[in-house]
Amino acid sequence: MTVKSVIEAVREAMREEMVADSRVMTLGEDVGARGGVFLATQGFVEEFGERRVIDTPLAEASIAGIALGLAFKGLRPIAEIQFSDFWWYAANQIIGEAARVCYGSNGVLPAPMVVRIPYGGGVRGGLFHSQNIESYLYNTPGLKVIAPSNPYDAKGLLKAAIRDNNPVVCLEHKKTYRGVRGEVPDGEYTLPIGVADVKREGADVTVISYGLALHYCLAAAEMMEDEGVSVEVLDLRTLRPLDKEGILASVRKTAKALIVHEANTTGGVGAEVSAIIGEEAFEDLDAPIMRLCGPDVPTMPFASTLEDAYMLNADKIRDALQKLAAY
């Protein structure tokens, strides 16, 4: 075990897969000599050469479309969209095309490609360097979506994604890149896509989250412990397919659920999690299914005060947990 940051884990996952499998390659803006704007591919072009590490023109549609073509040819491309805020240009190739290819060819044509997308706020990025785009992805049949919260999950899930025969979007919260560190095994491992993880066991309330917000949930759970309330913290880790069983098992145990995410409330992953619970665990519930999610504004603003007003923190979550515990 070695303590690493999320960005290190991401880099290591890609590097190991590129060493192990010559079909794995990466492309995106500035992934070459610059090593990516977050340094996710630092040293790659030197190690793997320009054929496998392609600095692309500034054109996201082509980054995704070229990746899909490469996948058709049998390569295993990892495309990087530099910031989530710019993914819209690639939406047609990712959702319109890649996610439909296997189904549309009656199973003949797989699309093994990974699209890595740094996302999320709290970094003073304003409306166009902070977006949460989960709600435009997790609703897509044919696509898989992972959203790890820590280095261990990031490495294991990203490696699994690279080996997956389907298009997988890997959502990496920018604020976790350097802000979250944790132990990563020294040896080879992968983690299964589609399995949530109980990050903290508890008996009274379940809080369901992912990404950066998960850490605020853990901190809030700690606070609640002091107040005598035992909170279970479930990390979804994968946003599609959602781990229905994992969600239901935890909620059936605690009978109370709070869903927490940074993305806007309406139509977010929390809506689906709530609907699953409301449909399948209705009889087990002791309280309304609550959400504490991003306010419905177009992303967090640049000014510190406004950004703080938007962003989650442990206090806000504790307040919501208190209400739910007291219900």
Partner: protein, 344 residues
């Protein structure tokens, strides 16, 4: 209207052009038969639509010479991969797709080899044809084809990728991105644009402020050529050259603008009298690629009237057989709806 220039390949020279291109008289008869079959099949599909059996048909009439020429050059080359578009029936027939597969594809029956009845005709992929046509989204095959071509290069393979699309498709942002990417990487790809001067009802002058789309290639650092797409041999020659260039170390992409015609409404859903003048349609019919090939072969004595009749008769029979068989096929089992959302 595109005019065949002075370098036009059709005529009755002492040494007919096809022989100087290495095509035997027999091969030419085979190609004429293929084009005749294409036309017969296209007519039949339209009829099947009118009978309420085929929900949608996009006719290829007017583009057969271009599509057949692309198919011929690619097939002869032996190491080409294709990203065709919806009017490429002739090309598909060259690559061994059977009339019966084509009819089944239009009916959405079990046994469809590209998509199992999930999509329109031959969209999807099959295990044994060097061909992918993912969707109906005009323009989206372009970047994919360039990615495929770059993939071949990365793997050190010599395969050349060909992608076809219409004048309408050239307006998409992805067309620009694909051509630019291909230029930077000298990707072994041939861009084949079938310009019939119409995107459904929108005429060329409302699509672009230029006469020849081929001019755009200069902006990407590779050659663009205007080709008379109703002339099989001119197409064949140009595609062959483009494939060779793609494969050369210092080569790379070529953009071929095929000036073609649209002899039918956009699709079976369209009513072109709303927007197209009778004169314009007549002028198009004057450039019918099938008529052109027939005249060429008749004029030089390669095709006789009796051969012509035989070929036409065989085509009719083949289309009949294909239709009968396809109509017998069952629709897919509804229980398969949930299959293949993900690849294992």
């Amino acid at each position: 209207m595109f005019q065949t220039g002075e370098g036009a390949s059709l005529g009755t020279e002492a040494m007919p052009l096809h022989r100087s291109l290495g095509l035997t008289d027999e091969a030419m008869l085979g190609l004429y038969a293929k084009m005749t079959l294409t036309r017969a099949l296209d007519d039949r599909l339209w009829a099947l639509n009118r009978q309420g059996k085929a929900p949608l048909v996009a006719s290829c009439q007017g583009v057969e010479a271009a599509s057949l020429g692309v198919g011929l050059a690619a097939k002869e080359d032996g190491d080409c991969f294709l990203f065709p578009y919806y009017r490429d029936m002739a090309l598909k027939l060259v690559f061994g797709i059977t009339p019966m597969e084509l009819v089944i594809g239009h009916l959405g029956k079990e046994g469809d080899s590209f998509n199992g009845g999930r999509q329109f005709l031959l969209q999807g992929a099959s295990t044994d044809r060097p061909m992918i046509q993912t969707s109906n989204v005009v323009g989206s095959n372009l970047c994919q084809s360039v990615g495929y071509a770059i993939g071949c290069k990365i793997l050190g393979e010599k395969t050349v990728t060909l992608v076809s699309f219409g004048d309408g498709g050239s307006s998409q942002g992805e067309c620009h991105e694909a051509m630019n990417f291909a230029g930077v990487h000298k990707a072994p790809v041939v861009f084949v644009c079938y310009n019939n001067r119409l995107a459904i009802s929108v005429p060329q002058e409302k699509q672009m402020a230029i006469k020849d789309l081929a001019d755009r290639a200069a902006g990407y650092g590779f050659p663009g050529r205007v080709v008379d797409g109703t002339d099989l041999l001119e197409v064949y020659q140009n595609v062959k050259a483009a494939i060779e260039r793609a494969r050369e170390e210092s080569g790379g992409p070529t953009f071929l603008e095929m000036k073609v015609e649209r002899l039918r409404p956009h699709t079976s859903d369209d009513d072109d009298t709303r927007y197209r003048s009778a004169e314009d349609l007549e002028a198009s019919k004057g450039r019918d690629p099938l008529v052109k090939l027939r005249s060429y072969l008749t004029n030089i004595g390669v095709l006789t009237t009796s051969q012509e009749e035989r070929i036409r008769g065989e085509a009719r029979e083949e289309v009949n057989r294909a239709t009968e068989e396809a109509e017998k096929a069952e629709p897919p089992d509804p229980s398969t709806l949930m299959r293949h959302v993900y690849s294992p």
